[in-house]
């Protein structure tokens, strides 16, 4: 159907556009554009990175001097701003461009890397590194690795091994560190080795109210739920209120709120329904389901102790 690609026959010229489409990078970037709401600076950085990698690859094929660029990254931003989701897309992108061989994502935190007694840390860290080779290692809340208040903390050992592998096996493994901006900054200050080995620092901004509302719509659509017009207004109020209260975690708070709204909706239907319900009734979330949230009653502070705050990522 398509004509034979002339660039492939004689490697004297490379059509970047065709390269972009055939490598599959295009699909990943389009998916990113479609699935992620907001996050403009992040998307821009990823597009730039993709362009650099494509050009680097084309240079390599033409025999020009090229070196595997350092791909280790750091994602900073508040909770619930999409760091893990973007990391997953990043792994996919790097895989399609041929910079990692397998393209799987291994998500770890301090607990997975640092041991509990002497001699426990190194094997544990190595085990994780081996699991992640050929893919992407995502270290969430990376600053916990370094505990300056305890000089005998085993985290330092994990950091050393990590740095060594990041340097020596750049072809085998891409490491992404993630965490809150200010604490990551302090972490990099006390571990200058990390900063110099990480090429891409990407900052994730908080979502605006409008973006959060669109995210809510996205989440609900995926689960085959919908909001009634009154519920839409209620949700907008909810987002505005929720932001002012403690433990606000952007999209994660919204997802939790929607989960609880679904719970209340099920309860309401169960208690009030008489006779058969149609699909529309089963999938409509009404104003009352959202207005019942304690966010409208002064939030967490109003009834502390009534409910456990648990993960701290959302108030009901």
């Amino acid at each position: 159907m398509t004509s034979a690609e002339p660039a492939a026959a004689a490697e004297t010229a490379i059509d970047l556009r065709a390269e972009y489409e055939s490598s599959g990078a295009k699909e990943v970037l389009e998916e990113l554009e479609r699935d992620l709401i907001g996050l403009e600076p992040v998307k821009k950085r990823i597009r730039e990175t993709a362009a650099l990698l494509l050009v680097e690859r084309a240079r390599g094929r033409l025999g020009l001097a090229h070196q595997t660029p350092t791909l280790h990254m750091s994602f900073t931003g508040n909770p619930g701003t999409g760091k893990t989701t973007v990391a997953m897309k990043m792994a996919d992108l790097l895989h399609r461009l041929g910079y990692v061989r397998k393209g799987h994502l291994v998500t770890v935190t301090r607990d997975d890397l640092v041991g509990q007694y002497i001699g426990h840390t190194a094997p544990k860290t190595k085990e994780i590194l081996k699991k992640a080779m050929g893919g992407v290692l995502f270290i969430d809340e990376a600053y916990y690795l370094y505990r300056p208040e305890n000089e005998r903390d085993y985290g330092q050992e994990a950091i050393e091994i990590l740095l060594q592998v990041m340097e020596n096996q750049r072809d085998d493994l891409v490491v992404i560190l993630a965490g809150y901006a200010d604490r990551m900054e302090r972490f990099f200050e006390s571990n200058p080795g990390f900063r110099s080995r990480i090429a891409h620092h990407i900052d994730f901004p908080d979502y605006s109210d409008d973006e959060l509302f669109r995210i809510a719509g996205h989440i609900l659509a995926e689960q085959n739920y919908g909001l009634t017009p009154a519920a839409e207004a209620a949700l907008k109020d909810y987002i505005r209120e929720r932001r002012k209260q403690p433990h606000f975690a952007n999209a994660r708070s919204i997802r939790n709120a929607l989960d609880r709204a679904r719970l209340r909706q099920a309860n309401r239907l169960f208690e009030s329904a008489e006779g058969p319900l149609d699909a529309a009734a089963l999938s409509a979330i009404d104003e009352a389901d959202i207005r019942a949230s304690r966010v409208f009653r002064g939030g967490l502070a109003a009834d502390r102790g009534g409910e456990g705050t648990g993960d701290g990522s959302g108030a009901s």
């Binding site: 061989r101 397998k102 799987h104 085990e127 590194l129 081996k130 699991k131 080779m133 072809d171 085998d172």
Partner: protein, 141 residues
Amino acid sequence: MRITQGAFSFLPDLTDEQITSQVAYCLEKGWAVNLEFTDDPHPRNTYWDMWGHPMFEVADPAAVLYELKECRKVYGDSHYIRLSAFDASHGWESVKLSFIVNRPASEEAGFRLQRSEGAGRNIRYTTQPYATGKPEGERYR
């Protein structure tokens, strides 16, 4: 004397690149790759020491090569290292591929043939590696 055990042992030693391809094949089949080492070269010695844990969860040959290099740092000069691939699937549960990936620097010794006379004119033969005359860890120095 050159020890021939497992697959590929009549061929020249595999390069790291060739080992990588073999490991990639094993991982593709879903086998767990292990590293084992010993300095007792007798062919009936099935009890080799294991280096670390069996690697059930690695996705990429780079991880195995990383461990192999670590193992060579410690035992490369003085021990045999072999790589074995274990198929854990039901009904198999056994080693599917095993080959030597490292030989001690000086692999001379060979085997002594021993005859023991039994009842009547019966003679029993057995072989013993010269290397095992010395204690473990000092055999190939």
